[in-house]
Amino acid sequence: MSELNQTVYVVEDDEPVRDSLLLLLKAEGYATKGYGNAAAFLEEDVVNLSGCLILDIRMPGMTGMELHKKLLEMGCAIPVIFVTGHGDVAMAVEAMKLGAVDFVQKPYREEDLLEKVKQALSMDAEQQEALKYKEKLKQRIESLTPRELEIMDMMIEGNANKVIAIELDISQRTVEIHRSRVMQKMGTHSLAQLVQMVLAARS
């Protein structure tokens, strides 16, 4: 996880709450960074952050909810854990629907929070992993010739070699050669896996 360089970001207007949380996270071994308001956090390159965001829902100026919406608009996919007060559970549920990872209610149990942080970070790691894999697949797909790409699309649709040969008016043997090239370039032996890869790359 550490090679991913993940940081736990904390946006919380209340100084003692922020300070205590940052110290606790630091003691747990996380890299941390704190912000007193939403605007300060937005100064970061939010789209390329790695880690998770602990966000107070109730803040003067831009609220946690508003910041979250803004981040989504900007294409920032960092997992968000909302911290809510007593009466904000409904708001938190709303936030969850919009894609927040989770929420904790103040005052929270350390274990609960740390558990959620851990989940958020692994989710972030997965997301990053998935992103990298997708990138790799895209590169592989790009390495195919137009003919190979054409044949791969027809393979994925479930056409037999014979059908592809007739459709493209080429010999069945030629189809077989292209097919093994595709499998080789995409790094797989099974058609099922190929289907999965292409779907993942194009998602």
Binding site: D14, D19, L23, P60, G61, H86, G87, K106, P107, E110
Partner: protein, 527 residues
Amino acid sequence: MATAAINVIKKVSRQDQILLVDDNPANLKILYETLDGRGYKLLVADSGEKAVSIVKKSHPDLILLDVMMPGMDGFEVCRVLKQDPETARSSIIFLSALDDTDSKVIGFDAGGVDYISKPFQIKEVIARVETHLKIHRLEQQLEWKNLELQTDKTSILEAMSEGIYGLNRKGQIIFANPAACRMNSCEESELLGQSFTNLHFNHSHIPEGDNEYDLDRITERLQRVLTNGESLKIGHAMFSRLDGTVFPVAFSAASTSSGSFSTHAVVVFHDISEELEQEQELERARQSLDAQRAQLAHVSRLSMMGEMAAGIAHEVNQPLTAIVNYVRLAARISKAEDLDRESMTSTLEKIESQCLRASQVIQHIRDFVKKPLQGKEIVTGEQLAHDIIELAEIEAKEHGIELVTKVAENLPNLNVEEIQVQQVALNLLRNGMEAMEQAGVEGTIDFSVQVLEGSNKVRFDVSDAGPGVKEEFRESLFSPFFTTKKSGMGIGLTLCQSIIHSHGGEIGYQPNELGGSTFYFLLPIAE
């Protein structure tokens, strides 16, 4: 007696009456002829006795009276007439052959105004008669005027409901009007000769907290009235009566520098029992009103706190959250192999400060909702502003609106019931925030405190960025049961106004540049 005298004077006709008295018919005839036809009404008598009886009946203006007569002589007649007030008014001129100085002296002593020697010159008689009639008329007019004045004065003094004393140089009562006697429940004669101060201040009934009215002080001050011509005015004192009972009075004493010789000072006083009673009644009503206002304010604060519950919970949760975090941190530090004492100490200090923070919030809330009628206290303007802001912050966070505060430095002291003033400010702030929230507008709510220039008042302003108050509603803003809120009783601003007025302040509304509302109130600076 005065009335009788008036009646006598009224009987005087326009035509002057002259009575001629002589035992000698020849003399009478000459006198009669001398004066006849000159517009006088002439009466005659040939003896002293007859003269007296005619005077009693007719009250002539002038009597020409022969001295030497058998029976009652002229001097005797004069004395008799002058002794009786009914007859004393007629002027008497003696006629006599006696021309020695002694008899003239006797005549003047007896009350005569002039003396004509026999044998008389007709011209002299006429001249003297004319002169004395004129003098007589003037005297009568003067007397008439005097009586009129005296009667006026008497009836005024009698009619006055205020008690009035005339005091002599020694401060003794030499006159008391009927009202004074009535208030003292005694006769004028019982008051006369009494020392004013000894009579009325011979008691220990000094109104509390006021040593102004004890016997020594009063005596000294009255002395200054009597000798230096100062005046004395006391709004509330107790007069003792002869029987030892007391009654409350307001009184004033003034010297009569230009008055009659015997009166040196006049004391005017009236019984203020009823006024005191009414004052007390008023005071009781005021107190009961105060108590009701305080009660209402208390209930309103409780309900306000209810509405602010979410914000308050948040405000307590914040330090609790920090505390929990710090405690966990401390636990970790203590479990580490090398105990980092410095971190431990700093963490524990942070825990302490957060505990205090939480307890302050709770204390503040408790102060805010505690029982009414704490009474007014001197607080600094800064303290008051600070306490208001602390509660307002909770509400601002709850509404997600930024609270911008501007508190002038070196604010003076105020004599206020702090909780109630906090309540007013908080009420105005919450109204502003609700207005902004309802209208869905962005912006800040501003709270400022400063001394109003050129006055002895401190001005508190609450300005919002909401939609403002429509012109047609502005007049009714502070009326009870007037509200534009969906769920409002219309009590808030009325109560605010009542609270501010009870502090001798003002409260008002004005639209601001942002199109929002500015509510302000002014409180007088403590002396």
